[in-house]
Amino acid sequence: MVETIINENTIERVSEIARLKLSDKEKIRFRDEFERILEEFSIIDEIKVGDKELYYVVENVNVLREDSSPKPFNKINDIKNNFNKKEDEYIVVPRNL
């Protein structure tokens, strides 16, 4: 049933895209688990489906918002207090030269 073979390279790529640094042990462990999980889940291939992809279970459409004069947030300092590194009101992050 398994058509998806997850090789080392795949785990490497996935962890890069997901910005998750993994130890070698973790890489091996996850690779093994993913193969088992996806093999188990490939049972969904059995289901006869139409073309419709169900993204939303509610029927709402067109929820638009009227543009009006701005309502500034009243606790901006509380947001800033959670910034990890600050300088002169900016958030400090590594440089990219």
Binding site: I37, V49, Y56, K75, N84, I91
Partner: protein, 473 residues
């Protein structure tokens, strides 16, 4: 009508006393149970004084000073919001969730933030960075998850009501395991603004209580369209509490209740018996009971988890450490973010982020992500068919009793399979509930009801019927 009596009682005695009693209980026993991550006793005491004055002038809100605990993935401003994770260990919410706002407006007293499985990734309440929560009914056993602290705090009398969230059973499971009432509202009924949800198209906040009335009361306060969450819809134009109050025994004769055999496959024999007995009781009281089939139930877990993985990995992208949360830093922006995320996230969280990334990648998404979304309609249609002819679907909430803490090896697939009876409701967006109907080996057994989307009144009537059949109140 336990909760109703409680309110009447409060009105004649003291809000402050009720609060004080609760905080004393917490001091005494929560060290062991570990249902709270953050307490807000001071603010609660201040609020209680204000509400006391309102009661004197008879201007109090619907919640009249009842003590409420809130799951730690729902924002309460100026209190920590950790989502049970090291990632947000020191994050203080700068705003109130819509549900928090509504509770405060109706004079609920928020006593603290409840422990939970890390970022709601779990079904037993043992994966929190802040340590596992214990089941108040027997502290050697798991309380269920992911709203573990919410259920436990109600069961332990640390509060009168609680607010949790349900993605695939996260309210119903701990309600069942802790022996309390838990309710998963229809998707779109309750605003998710302020809920750090794990899977956006499946999840929503919902109430815990000790009885149907308590559920209806909190639901009346939190339900209804919100401009801050575009998926919210108009609620039924009636009062849930009135619906419950007006229901009487004779209404049971009008009910058409279905049960599906697939919902009993793989379920513990003892649990099966208790549930079937209760169904028999309802039949004796005049309800029409019939068997139906849900042939696609066996696909529910893969479909559910594939959707969860995809949405979860997207939801978790925001945690890079720059704006809030744990931060490790590094040479460059890639290094800094990768190390930060690696250091702060637990194993199950990492697992789901990686799997979610994988199944939405270009070369893999057709087989997994897209397929799951197409298959999801199949589950929704199954329920539609059943609710065309029936008011309710009845069955057990969990396939087993709570297990001992540490007993189950944390193998992901076996963890996931525990959700088999609860995930379908989330896939279809309908409402569902769990209520305690008895004990087995001295552990609580939960009975689950489902009703069609936005038919909360039907579901509440069903819960009331079961309550009556249990000889309750």
């Amino acid at each position: 009508m336990f909760t109703k009596d409680l309110i009447d009682n409060l009105l004649s005695t003291s809000i402050e006393e009720n609060l004080h009693k609760k905080s004393e209980e917490i001091k005494k026993r929560d060290k062991e149970i570990n249902s709270f991550i953050t307490l807000g006793i001071e603010e609660a005491e201040k609020a209680s004084k204000e509400i006391e004055n309102k009661i004197k002038g008879n201007t109090q809100g619907k919640l009249s000073g009842l003590v409420i605990s809130i799951k730690d993935n729902i924002a309460v401003s100026n209190l920590r919001m950790t989502c049970g994770s090291k990632v947000l260990e020191n994050y203080v919410a700068p705003y109130d969730a819509t549900v928090t706002n509504r509770i405060k407006k109706q004079d609920g007293i928020i006593i603290g933030k409840c422990n939970m499985d890390e970022f709601a990734c779990g079904s037993d309440g043992t994966s929190s960075y802040f340590g596992p929560t214990k089941n108040p009914r027997n502290i050697e056993y798991v309380p269920g998850g992911s709203s573990s602290g919410s259920a436990a705090s109600v069961a332990a009398d640390f509060c009168d009501l609680s607010l949790g969230s349900d993605t695939g059973g996260s309210i119903r499971c701990p309600a069942s395991f802790c022996g309390v009432y838990g309710f998963k509202p229809s998707y779109g009924l309750v605003s998710r603004y302020g809920l750090s949800d794990m899977a956006m198209s499946l999840e929503g906040p919902g109430p815990f209580a000790k009885d149907t009335y308590g559920i209806a009361l909190l639901l009346d306060v939190i339900a209804g369209k919100d401009s801050r969450d575009t998926v919210t819809v108009e609620r039924e134009k009636l009062s849930y509490t009135e619906t419950v109050e007006k229901f009487n025994d004779s209404d049971i004769k009008k009910m058409k209740i279905a049960f599906a055999k697939e919902f009993f496959e793989g379920v513990d024999e003892g649990i099966k018996k208790i549930i079937l007995d209760k169904i028999g009781d309802l039949e004796s009281l005049g309800a029409k009971i019939e068997e139906v089939s849900m042939p696609n139930l066996k696909y529910a877990i893969p479909i559910y988890y594939l959707v969860v993985f995809s949405e979860f990995s997207s939801a978790m992208s925001k945690f890079d450490g720059f704006k809030y949360g744990h931060y490790v830093g590094g040479q460059d922006i890639v290094e800094a973010v990768s190390s930060t995320r690696e250091a702060a996230m637990g194993t199950e969280v990492k697992r789901r982020v990686l799997l979610g990334t994988f199944v939405t990648m270009e070369e893999f998404r057709g087989k997994w992500y897209t397929k799951a979304l197409k298959a999801r309609s199949v589950i929704k249609e199954d329920f539609k068919r059943i609710f065309n002819s029936y008011d309710l679907l009845i069955g057990p909430t969990m396939p087993t009793l709570p297990w001992k803490i540490g007993e189950r090896i944390s193998d992901p697939l076996s963890m996931y399979s525990a959700d088999i009876l609860t995930v379908s409701a989330n896939l279809a967006g309908i409402c569902a509930s769990s209520q305690p109907i008895g004990n087995l080996k001295q552990l609580p057994v939960g009975l689950q009801l489902h009703a069609d989307s936005l038919c909360e009144s039907k579901l509440l009537k069903g819960m009331r019927a079961v309550e009556i059949a249990c000889g309750g109140m």
